[in-house]
Every structure is written in C-alpha cells, then in structure tokens.
Amino acid sequence: MTFQYEIFWIVVSFLLTVMVLSYLLGDNVFFRIAAHLFIGVTSGYVVLLIINEIILPYMLNPLITGTWIDRLWLGIPILLILLLIISQIKKFTWIGSLPLAYLAGLAAAVAVGGAVFGTLIPQSRTIIDSFDPAIVNVTSGQGWVNILDAVVMLIGVIGTLSFFHFGRKRNPETDADLSKRPMIFEGLSKIGQVFIGITLGAVFAGIFSSTLLALIDRILIIGQFITNLIGSV
C-alpha cells in the first residue's frame, strides 16, 4: 500500500515535471494544466495554512478557552477585521481606511526602523571603519590590500549613489545643456555604472546557478524514476 502510494506520487511528480518542461515547445495545453493545477493547489493550501497557523491559534482558541481579559484584547483585531469586511460594501468603503491605516502605519514603522537601524547605519559604519588604521593594519603585510579594498568600496558606494542622483543644475542660465547633470556627477555615475553592472552580473550568475541546480535536480528525479521503473520491470 505504501509502495503504491509512493509510486503514485512519483508518477505524478514526473508527469508534472514533464508537463512544465513542455513549455520548451511553446505554450501548450499540458503546461497550462500544470500551471493551473499548481495555482489551485497553492490557493487551497494557503487557506488551510492561514486557518491552522493564524486564525485558530491566535483568534478562535483564545476566544473559546481564554479569560475575559483575553477576549477583550481580542476585540481590537476582531473589530478591525469587521471594519475591513464592511468596507467591501460600496456604501461603507470609507470604513476600511481605519484598519488599512493601522496596517500601513505599522508596516512603515517596522520597515523604516529595520532599514535605518538594520541596514543603513551598519553599512555606513562599515564603510567608515574600513579606513580605520587599526583595521587596515590588522594583518602585517596586507595593509595596502586592505587600503585598496576600502578605496574601491568607497568609490563604488559614491559612484553608485551618484548614478542614482537625479538632481538638476541649480543655475540653468549658465549651463547650456540642462539634460545633463553636473560634470562631477556625470563622471562618478559612469564609475557607478561599472559597479552596478558587476553587481547585476553577479546576481544573474547566481540566478543561473540556482536554476541550473533546480533543473539538475528535476532531471535526476526523472532519471531515477525511469531507472527504477526499468529495474522493477
């Protein structure tokens, strides 16, 4: 029974893999069936996941088994949920602005706080620390390499920031070509382009590497299935 169960799912996975790979021949009905199947399964799975992982443990269980204080606290999210549901009625669309404002404010606070204190400040400090003599000379004989590394990093940072500088000239009367940025930004942005190009190239290489590994894994599964099928016969 277990063997048949496993065989069934191996066959299903093999067929779905082949159906997806059939896209190489162009858009076809098999690829569409597989795509719709994945979308449908994912939707159903998400619904069950939300019910099991969020609604039941965080809302229904405390409502049923919790104290009166717990239930009072739950009144806040339940009220927000009700407002969102009511806002689906055209006449009461404005009611939804309250829970949406709460969500937007919360998301902004979390995201901005994380970006500033979790990325911007630590990364800026890293750039500054790279010129710290104590760090540069930490390895004897490697000092010039560290300095070069720090200089390249600084040039890359300034160049990349310059590339995304979209300010305009302050004195358009004296400068003929308004479409161009100031000369210093133009020059730095050219350098920044090189760094951005290298970064995007590295990202592309990483994407290709990841997808290649995924393809190898699929081919391996198909090959093992066929090998097992031939072996069993």
């Binding site: 790979l21 190489l24 021949l25 162009g26 994912t42 799975y45 998400v46 996941l49 939300i50 992982e53 969020i54 443990p57 965080y58 269980n61 405390p62 919790g66 204080i69 717990d70 009072l72 606290w73 739950l74 919360l106 998301a107 979390v110 995201a111 706080g113 994380g114 970006a115 204190f117 979790g118 990325t119 630590p122 990364q123 400090r125 890293t126 970064t199 590295a202 990202v203 290489a205 990483g206 994407i207 290709f208 590497s209 990841s210 290649l212 590994l213 995924a214 393809l215 190898i216 894994d217 081919i219 391996l220 090959g223 090998t227």
Partner: protein, 569 residues
C-alpha cells in the same frame, strides 16, 4: 482726491473748474452741490463698478447675450414702436409691456440689475450716477438731456454727416449738440460705440430720438451678431454694385461705404480674430491631421526569427548534456573548491556548536529551490542532530512548515530532534519583529494574552536563516540584528540571493553564509559524509560551460543582427 464733473451730455469726466465739456463741449451746468460728484460722496463700490464698466462693458454684454443665446432660441426681438421706458424701468423685470417680445436674456439682465449691484446693474448705476448729477431744479430738462446722452451712447458715427444725425435727433438735443463734435471720447464710450457697430448707423439714425427705447433696440440687436442690417432695402440691393471702398476691420464695427457717390454706412461682420497662439495650435492640429491622412510607410515584415528554434535546440542540448553527465559521466569532485571568507565563518560556527544548544531555524524559501537548500542544509542539520540541539522553527513562506519537515525527514531526524514549531508569519519583518520583541521588550501590556509560541526562556544560541531571495533574508536580518544583537546569525541561501547579502557579512551582522553547490561540497567534506553534491558536480560544471557557450554565441548573434539592421537602415 480731486473733484470731477460729469458731463450731462456725454458722461465724460471733466475737471472741477471746467465750464464746458472737454469732449463734447457741452456746457457743464453746475447746479448746487448735486452736479459736483465727489469721490467721497460716492460709495467706493460705485466707483469700482463704473471703472469696471468702462473696461468691460462690451464684453459683458456680449457674454450675457451669448449666454442667453444658448438658452433662448425662439424669443423674438424687440420691435420698434415699443413704449418708451424710463431708465429705471428699463431693467424692471416686472414690466409687462414688452411681453414675449423682449428677449429672455434682456429679462435676465433686468432681473439681475434689480437684484444685484454688480454685473449688468453697473449700467444702471452709471445711468443713475449720471442722473443724480443732474438732479436739481432742471431735473426734468436734465432727464431729457439724459435721453440725449443715451442717444450719444449710440452717438455720432465717426465720419457720419452731421445732417444724418440731426435728422433723427430731437430738436432739443440738436440745439445743445455742438456742431464740431470731435471723435475724442472716453475709452468706455468708444467701447460701447464699437460694440454698437453691430447695428447699422442708418438704423440708428432713423431711431435717434427714441430715447431709452434706442438702448433697448441696441441691446436687442446684439442678440444676433453678424446679422447685417442695411440702411434700407434699396440701398442694400445696390450695395454690391456701388461700393467703392470698404475698410474691413477685425472688430466688426460700422464702416464708411460710398453708395452711389454718397457716403453711407454698413456693418461689416466681425472677422474671426485669431491670436498667434491659436494660429500655432491650429497649424499643429492641421499638421497632425495631415500626418494621419498621409500613407504610412510600409514596413517590411521581418522574417521569422530563428531564435525560437535555436532556443529549443539549446534547451534540448542542455537537458541531454546534463542527463548524460548525471547518469553516465564521472562522479565525484576533482578538487574541493576554495573556501570563501563567508563560508569559513559559517564553518567555524558550525564546528563549535555546543551540545544541547538552542537554535532558531527560519524558513523563507520556495519549494523550487529546495534542492539547492537541501544541498547545504543537510550537512548542517546532521551536525545539529549529532549535538542534540534544541531546534525551534519559524516560517515566513507558505511552504516553510512543509519544507522543514521534508528536510528533517530527509536526514531521518524528524523524530530524533526536538523541534518546536513557532508557526507561520505571512510577513517576514513582522515575524522577526514579534520574535525579537518577545525577548527584548522591557515592557508588557497588562493583561495582554500570552503568545501561543513556546519560546525558550534563555533565548537562542544561534539563528539559521534559510532563504532563496535577498529580500526575505534581509527582512529577518534587519529586525533580528536590532532586537537580538547578541545572537549569532548565519545564512543558508541560494546562489541568487548571495551577492546582495554579502554586505551584511562584511558589516559583521552575519557571522557566516553558505550558498550553492560549492559551499555544499565544502560542508559535506567538513561536516558529514553525504555525497549529494558529488552526484551533481559534473552535471553542474557541464551546465555552466554549456551556458557560457550559449551566451557567447548569443552575443555574437546579437552583434551580427545589430550590424545587419544597421546595414538595412
């Protein structure tokens, strides 16, 4: 402020000491204080309105008239012979003598004049101001003078023979009218006369003497702009033949025409006035229409690109090559890849995991990348199982709860290892914030329900983040480095996420990071005896070389195609 005297004849403003009007030379009868109109004696609004009338009276009347035209279509014009109306009654909406013969727009003017002090009521104020200046013992005679002043509004047409005027003007008026009437007039009067040019001067001359009725007629004739009224029908019939000179003017005013050798007057329909901006816009529109009507150049249909076939060919070649290298090729590594600093940092942490340590595993990747994550996660999880670590699992991807079970099931440690599922968070940043606040918050709201999560009391000894994208990993790193700065964070990510996460390793926020097949091979050799990477190594190398070849061929083809297109161009 200097005082002024308004001429009872033409309404022109004259200095205080003038005895005759500077415009019409009419005697300025200064009678007591009533004729001295001091600015202080007038309401300031009256002055403003008068000034406004001077500037804008013709345009205002035209606007009202046009507004009326859109509303009333069947209203009749005023007919001649209507009873003479007093000036105050002129705008009386209750006046029933006109009946349906008075246009609706005129009714509206009257209504507004009776209800409001502004808009067309300004005319009334002007008239009233002029009348007030004539109040006194000669009130009755001045009223007649006012009628003549109204006629003056229609006034002598420039160049019109004096006899023509005298024929239609009352005797009293003609007696007061100086013979040498000069065209020097105030601007506002010129504007009125300019607008008046829409009616024929002959018509005007015929009706001169009708007093305020003339004003009605004049207003009524404004209803049909451009309607050409001639002196009489006979003259109109002979007009084309005998016209010797017609000076057209864009303003559409009355022009002098010689008819049968005698000067006459006709109304020249106003020409369309086109400003330079309007002309430019019209030219642009015309050119646009021309462009749309012109036949478009026929573009050659590009022959079907061979890229579709090439794409299929290379995909097939890649699959066949990978299959051959996977199943028939050599297995095993030629040499262990070089260890990168981030991999070295991860290895140092993994090799020194204390026994029974409490670890948090964050799952934030999709099933499509499970094969790559499995390659690097399997040696680490085997190590954790050996050290009997207490593992807590939290997910920010929908597949997380399934993937961690699959992962531990793959190493046969699902039952052996103590795993606490902390649940699923739809948004990674919120999950990380909630988790971090659970350990770092120094304040708790009274009565707040306890979290259903079973968090370890002493915190975590380390955090492992499994992620397939840069964004997913970054959300966790940002929040956890703020809220749990003492906890070591390590990353197990895909190759596509690794480049953008390197700065977090350089800044020290992340202790170590492993990704892809190379790191998997190193971890296998250092931490376990599994051989998943060895089975894929050759296929991976073949795939890389093949794709590099494809990219080179593609670049050459693109250059060739670009050159060909330039040649065609």
């Amino acid at each position: 402020m200097t005082e002024i005297i308004i001429c009872p004849e033409c309404g022109a403003e004259n200095p205080e000491d003038a005895t005759f009007c500077e415009v019409c030379h009419a005697p300025l009868i200064v009678d007591e204080e009533s004729d001295l109109i001091s600015p202080k004696s007038l309401d300031q609004d009256d002055f403003d309105l008068l000034n406004a009338v001077e500037d804008d009276l013709p345009g205002l009347l035209h606007a009202l008239k046009q507004d009326d035209q859109s509303l009333s279509s069947g209203e009749g014009n005023l007919e001649e012979g209507e009873p003479v109306l007093e000036s105050d009654d002129l705008f009386n909406p209750d006046e029933g003598q006109e009946g349906n013969e008075i246009p609706d727009w005129l009714h509206r003017i009257r209504e507004r004049a009776s209800e409001e002090d502004d808009s067309v009521g300004e005319i009334t104020q002007k008239i009233s101001a002029a009348k007030d200046s004539l109040a006194g013992e000669k009130r009755s005679s001045q009223h007649e003078s006012f009628e003549s002043w109204i006629q003056k509004l229609r006034g002598p047409i420039r160049g019109m023979p004096e006899e023509k005027l005298e024929e239609g003007v009352d005797d009293e008026d003609t007696e007061q009218e100086p013979e040498d009437v000069t065209p020097k007039e105030p601007d506002w009067l010129q504007k009125i006369r300019q607008a008046e040019g829409k009616i024929s001067t002959t018509d005007a001359s015929e009706n001169i003497g009708d007093g305020e009725e003339k004003l009605l007629n004049w207003l009524a004739t404004l209803e049909e702009p451009g309607e050409k009224e001639t002196v009489d029908e006979e003259d109109a019939e002979e007009e084309d033949e005998n016209t010797q000179q017609v000076e057209t003017d864009v303003s559409g005013v009355t022009q002098e025409v010689a008819v049968n050798g005698e000067p006459s007057f006709e109304v020249i329909p106003p020409k369309l006035q086109v400003t330079p901006e309007e002309k430019t816009q019209a030219e642009k529109l015309a050119s646009m229409i021309m462009d749309e009507s012109t036949p478009r150049p026929i573009r050659k249909l590009k022959r079907r690109s061979p890229l579709g076939s090439a794409r299929f060919f290379f995909a097939l070649l890649l699959i066949v090559s990978l299959s051959v290298s996977l199943f028939l090729g050599q297995r095993g590594l030629i040499q262990t890849p070089a260890i990168m600093p981030q991999t070295e940092g991860f290895l140092n942490w993994a090799e020194n995991i204390p026994q029974g340590s409490s670890l948090l595993l964050v799952f934030d990747y999709q099933p499509a990348f499970s094969s790559e994550i499995n390659l690097i996660a399997t040696p680490v999880l085997e190590r954790l199982a050996e050290e009997e670590s207490k593992i807590s699992v939290i997910s920010s991807s929908i597949s997380g709860p399934v993937l961690y079970r699959q992962l531990f099931q793959g190493i046969g440690a699902l039952e052996a290892v103590s795993i606490v599922d902390l649940g699923y968070f739809p948004i990674g940043a919120f999950g990380a914030f909630d988790l971090g606040m659970g350990f770092s918050a120094n304040w708790v709201l009274a009565g707040l329900p306890d979290s259903p999560k079973n968090l370890p009391s002493g915190g975590f000894d380390g955090i492992l983040i499994f992620a397939d994208t840069y964004e997913g990993a970054r959300a966790w790193i940002e929040q956890l480095t703020i809220l749990m700065p003492e906890t070591t964070i390590n990353l197990l990510v895909t190759d596509q996420a690794m480049p953008m996460l390197m700065p977090y390793f350089d800044s020290g926020q992340v202790k170590g990071m492993v990704s892809g097949l190379n790191s998997g091979a190193i971890l296998e050799s250092e931490l376990s005896q599994s051989s998943q990477t060895a089975a894929r190594w050759w296929a991976y190398q073949v795939g890389l070389i093949l794709m590099m070849g494809v990219m080179v061929i593609g670049a050459i083809y693109a250059g060739y195609q670009h050159k060909e297109e330039r040649g065609e161009g």
